[in-house]
Amino acid sequence: MPNKRNSLGATIAVAMLAFSLPVMANPDPSDWQSVVAEAEGQTVYWNAWGGDTRTNRYIDWVAEQMQAQYGVDVEHVKLDDTGSAVARVLAEKQAGNHTEGSIDLIWINGENFAAMRESDLLFGPFAESLPHFALTNAADNPEVVTDFTLPTEGYESPWGKAQITFFYDSAQTETPPQNMQALLAWANANPGQFSYPRIPDFTGSTFLKQALIELTDQEEALYQPVSESDFEAVTEPLWAYLDALHPHLWRSGRTFPDSGPNLRTLMSDGELSLAFSFYPTDAAVAVMEYELPESVRSYVLEGGTLGNVHFVAIPYNSPHKAGAMVLANFLLSPEAQAQKQSLAMWGDRSVLDIDQLDAETQTLFEQGDRHPSELPADALSNTLPEPHPSWMTALQNAWLERYGVN
């Protein structure tokens, strides 16, 4: 009997599913024409960090283009912390809202992506079916399908590239430190003029990883989940280094700046004279916006610095997945990528494999003269890959344990 009832139930369920499919089904990215057709008239709520007017201005430009080219209305929901968007999707799932979520697209990477995947909060796979995805030439550029060592498996679509870039005031410092040991010596000679953002800020956490890669003798362990190695042994050199560094930091390490951008503000106030950012063009932009003096110069550490790709992803309960996919695809178009890369607009590097584009499209990416505060063109070739995301959390916890109470 129970069996029979079950099969009856299943039949009914299947029948209902079939009946409701036209309304309920997620759009299929392999049938791109129907996705574009479905997207028209939708409003896409794009949740993206809103702390930078240049990013915001670029997103405004994207919204205009999307309206003109696809009839999709893009609304930028400005976040002060991407984690809050993750929390929002989670709260919706918690309340049983599986179809009418309030977020259609999130600017995301790293631990936030890992957390959303783990809790099954993302829609996909869709990314590799986007028509423009081929332009990234993923076969030769694995970073566009790898997020902090995790394969993205089509659950997020690449958008831009970031890499830790240091900057200093050349009027005050002639030879900036080129590696971690030199940084310690420099801080010793210039007390109070360097710092890194307070953990768990992501730029600050990236500094920890950067230092760890250089200092540890078990670098390969960082690319496996942290549980597979002896955390204490791997990180021991890092803590010894930080113990030595902290007394020479800004405010003697008794407090830390809030965020990556805050380093720039402190440098602008004359409190720091060496800082770093995740955006290679940050210093040049800050000079253009009167925040930093024209004598500021950018550079990358001699052993290379951490770099990563940032992505966009679609929550599982987004009611406008078609519109979100059309937007993600537009963000990958040469037109949008070239606009994004131009210093006048934003200055965020392209994820497309520019050499593979046809000659005419390549001209879109040509920039005028390099800004003197910008990095030399070839400086970013030395990119270190991000460790497994579990290291970020483990490092953050260990840091807070050691230095979280002063």
């Binding site: 709520y45 949740n47 960090w49 809103g50 702390g51 930078d52 007017t53 915001n56 201005r57 405004d60 609304e75 929901v77 400005k78 976040l79 002060d80 912390d81 991407t82 984690g83 993750v86 929390a87 929002r88 989670l90 709260a91 919706e92 799932k93 918690q94 309340a95 049983g96 309030s102 977020i103 631990e111 957390a115 809790s119 007390p191 109070g192 800004w250 405010r251 003697s252 008794r254 407090t255 830390f256 809030d258 965020s259 951008p261 805050n262 720039r264 503000t265 602008s268 106030d269 004359g270 409190e271 916006e289 009167y290 925040e291 930093l292 807070l400 230095y403 979280g404 109470v405 002063n406």
Partner: protein, 557 residues
């Protein structure tokens, strides 16, 4: 209809707070089915108590609530005691109500820039007095024990407590009391402290409690001025709720419950202090000492409030300078060049947030004013004493936002109420309504009943007496209450962000999002816009009665 008003008000305020608290309490003890939490468990609490620095966070939150409130209360009491209606005193009073309108975050940003080692004060005295060519490496803002946070809170609490005191004072007839005291040989300041203050305090006790609750759980000011290692409890809670690591949500819920406990403990502690002070001052009140301490109290009374008001204004001036600044290196007092770039770049982005801010503020304040008026009018017509249950009105002010808002979204989601403009307005109503009530209730009840009796005796109906006599007579306090409501609404960050899913952008949410980018020039622009809106509200509130007043006088002649 009118009879329903009190019940409606209480339901509107109590139900959301209650539902929000419930949805925080459950996960605090491990129940959150969507995340696989089904049973009762103490694990969230164990995780919470294992957090490094939790004890210090709690102490700083608790202490900043009590200390800042005590300091602000002393400043206000001494000012009222020492002020004698001179032009300076009147000037200071006038200065204070606009300061009330300026959102906490704007004051905090400006204040931080004022006192930072590279800030305006250091620039004024460098290098001439100090010899500093580069800013000193001194830990002033974000100090571990929250002193700069407390100072920032005092700047905002002083105007609020002063306005509340000024509203309550007339019913005590302080001039008569003071005259009597003076005729008995008491010097004015001592006389005021001995004869007026003991009767005034019970009338402003509730606002004082609201200030304590707010200060123990404040988020925006603590983010900017508060300690970092560890931050205050409220700031930690916010970051745990926003943590992508999902197990943190259980702990964040437990911490929200702890925050409620900290606030309640601070209120209890204050209440005990009240009792203690009452016992300790009993002798002083009647010991007949008429002069002792007069001079020093008078000087402190006048200078402290002046100092705090000037500090707040200077903070705004700093913001203004930054919003126009080109490159500005330490120790230059003024920027090398001024530019309108920052304003121009923000211009087009200001429109939608401005419209939303105005819409949300006007609608929520109008609803609140109507509900408050209905309740008060009902009270008047039924000849009832203010119900004890009306205490519940202050629930949203006494329960920390951070403790129930996250639960409230879950509750709203479960009922299928999606984040939207309407929900944001309802959320603002929670906080606007108590303040409108606070600002209006006493004056409403104090209005000389003979005016209405005269009107009724002339054959005017009750409702028409209300519209044609009471409202016009109460126009000035009504507009002030409206302006206070607007200011409260404009300053709301968490309710707007959470209940609108970030889709409903206001000047405040945009300012906070931009603040995460640390561009002080843009922060200056947005903080000034944020401060400017409620200022316009207050100026209208002060100016309109005069305009309308002349109009009516013209009619009469």
């Amino acid at each position: 209809m009118l009879r329903l008003a009190p019940a409606l008000i209480i339901a509107l305020l109590v139900l959301p707070v209650g539902a929000g608290l419930m949805m925080v309490l459950l996960p605090a003890f491990g129940y959150l089915p969507a995340l696989g939490g089904y049973g009762a468990s103490l694990a969230p609490w164990q995780m919470l108590f294992a957090q490094p620095g939790l004890g210090r966070s709690v102490v700083v939150s608790f202490a900043s609530g009590l200390v800042s409130t005590a300091v602000a209360l002393v400043i206000v009491a001494l000012f009222l005691a020492a002020s004698r209606g001179t032009w300076l005193d009147r000037g200071i009073r006038r200065l204070v109500s606009p300061l009330l309108a300026i959102p906490h975050a704007a004051i905090a940003f400006g204040f931080a820039f004022l006192i930072a080692p590279s800030g305006l004060v250091a620039r004024l005295i460098s290098p001439s007095l100090t010899g500093w060519e580069s800013p000193p490496d001194a830990l002033i803002i974000n100090d571990p024990w929250g002193f700069s946070l407390m100072a920032g809170l005092v700047l905002k609490e002083v105007p609020f407590l002063l306005l509340m005191s000024l509203a309550a004072l007339p019913q005590l007839a302080p001039e008569k009391r003071l005259l009597l005291a003076r005729s008995l040989g008491y010097s004015p300041t001592i006389g005021w402290l001995k004869t007026v203050l003991p009767s005034l305090y019970p009338l402003i006790r509730l606002p004082v409690y609201a200030v304590i609750a707010y200060a123990t759980s404040v988020v925006d000011m603590a983010l900017i001025l508060g300690p970092k290692l560890p931050p205050t409890l409220s700031v930690s809670i916010l970051s745990w709720f926003n943590d992508p690591d999902i197990s943190h949500r259980f702990m964040a819920s437990a911490a929200a419950v702890l925050q409620l406990g900290v606030t309640v403990a601070a209120l209890l502690c204050w209440w005990l202090l009240e009792q203690l002070i009452r016992i300790l001052t009993r002798r002083w009140l009647i010991n007949g000492s008429r002069q002792r301490g007069e001079i020093i109290l008078r000087i402190v009374g006048r200078s402290a409030l002046l100092f705090s008001s000037i500090t707040a204004l200077a903070a705004l001036v700093g913001l203004g300078l930054f919003s126009l600044a080109g490159f500005w290196r330490f120790p230059e007092v003024l920027p090398q060049m001024l530019t309108l770039d920052h304003w121009q770049r923000s211009g087009s982005m200001l429109v939608t947030p401005l419209v939303n801010t105005a819409l949300i503020g006007l609608v929520s304040t109008a609803l609140a004013t109507v509900l408050v008026l209905a309740t008060l009018e009902n009270e008047h017509r039924q000849h009832i004493q203010p119900k004890r249950a009306l205490w519940l009105l202050y629930l949203p002010l006494l329960v920390p936002q951070i403790a129930f808002l996250f639960g409230l979204i879950v509750a709203a989601e479960s009922l299928g109420i999606r984040p939207q403009l309407g929900l944001v307005i309802a959320g603002h109503l929670l906080f606007v309504l108590p303040y409108v009530y606070l600002s209006l209730a006493e004056t409403y009840r104090q209005l000389d009943p003979r005016w209405l009796k005269v009107a009724r005796s002339l054959g005017v109906s009750r409702s028409s007496a209300f519209w044609r006599v009471r409202l016009p007579l109460l126009l000035a306090p009504l507009l002030t209450a409206f302006a206070v409501g607007l200011a409260v609404s404009i300053g709301q960050y968490l309710p707007t962000q959470l209940l609108g899913a970030g889709r409903v952008t206001t000047v405040t949410t945009e300012a906070v999002a931009l603040a995460s980018g640390s561009n002080r020039r843009l922060i200056g622009v947005w903080a000034l816009v944020q401060a400017g809106l409620p200022l316009i509200g207050f100026m209208l509130a002060l100016g309109l009665p005069r305009l309308l007043g002349t109009h009516r006088r013209d009619l009469a002649t």
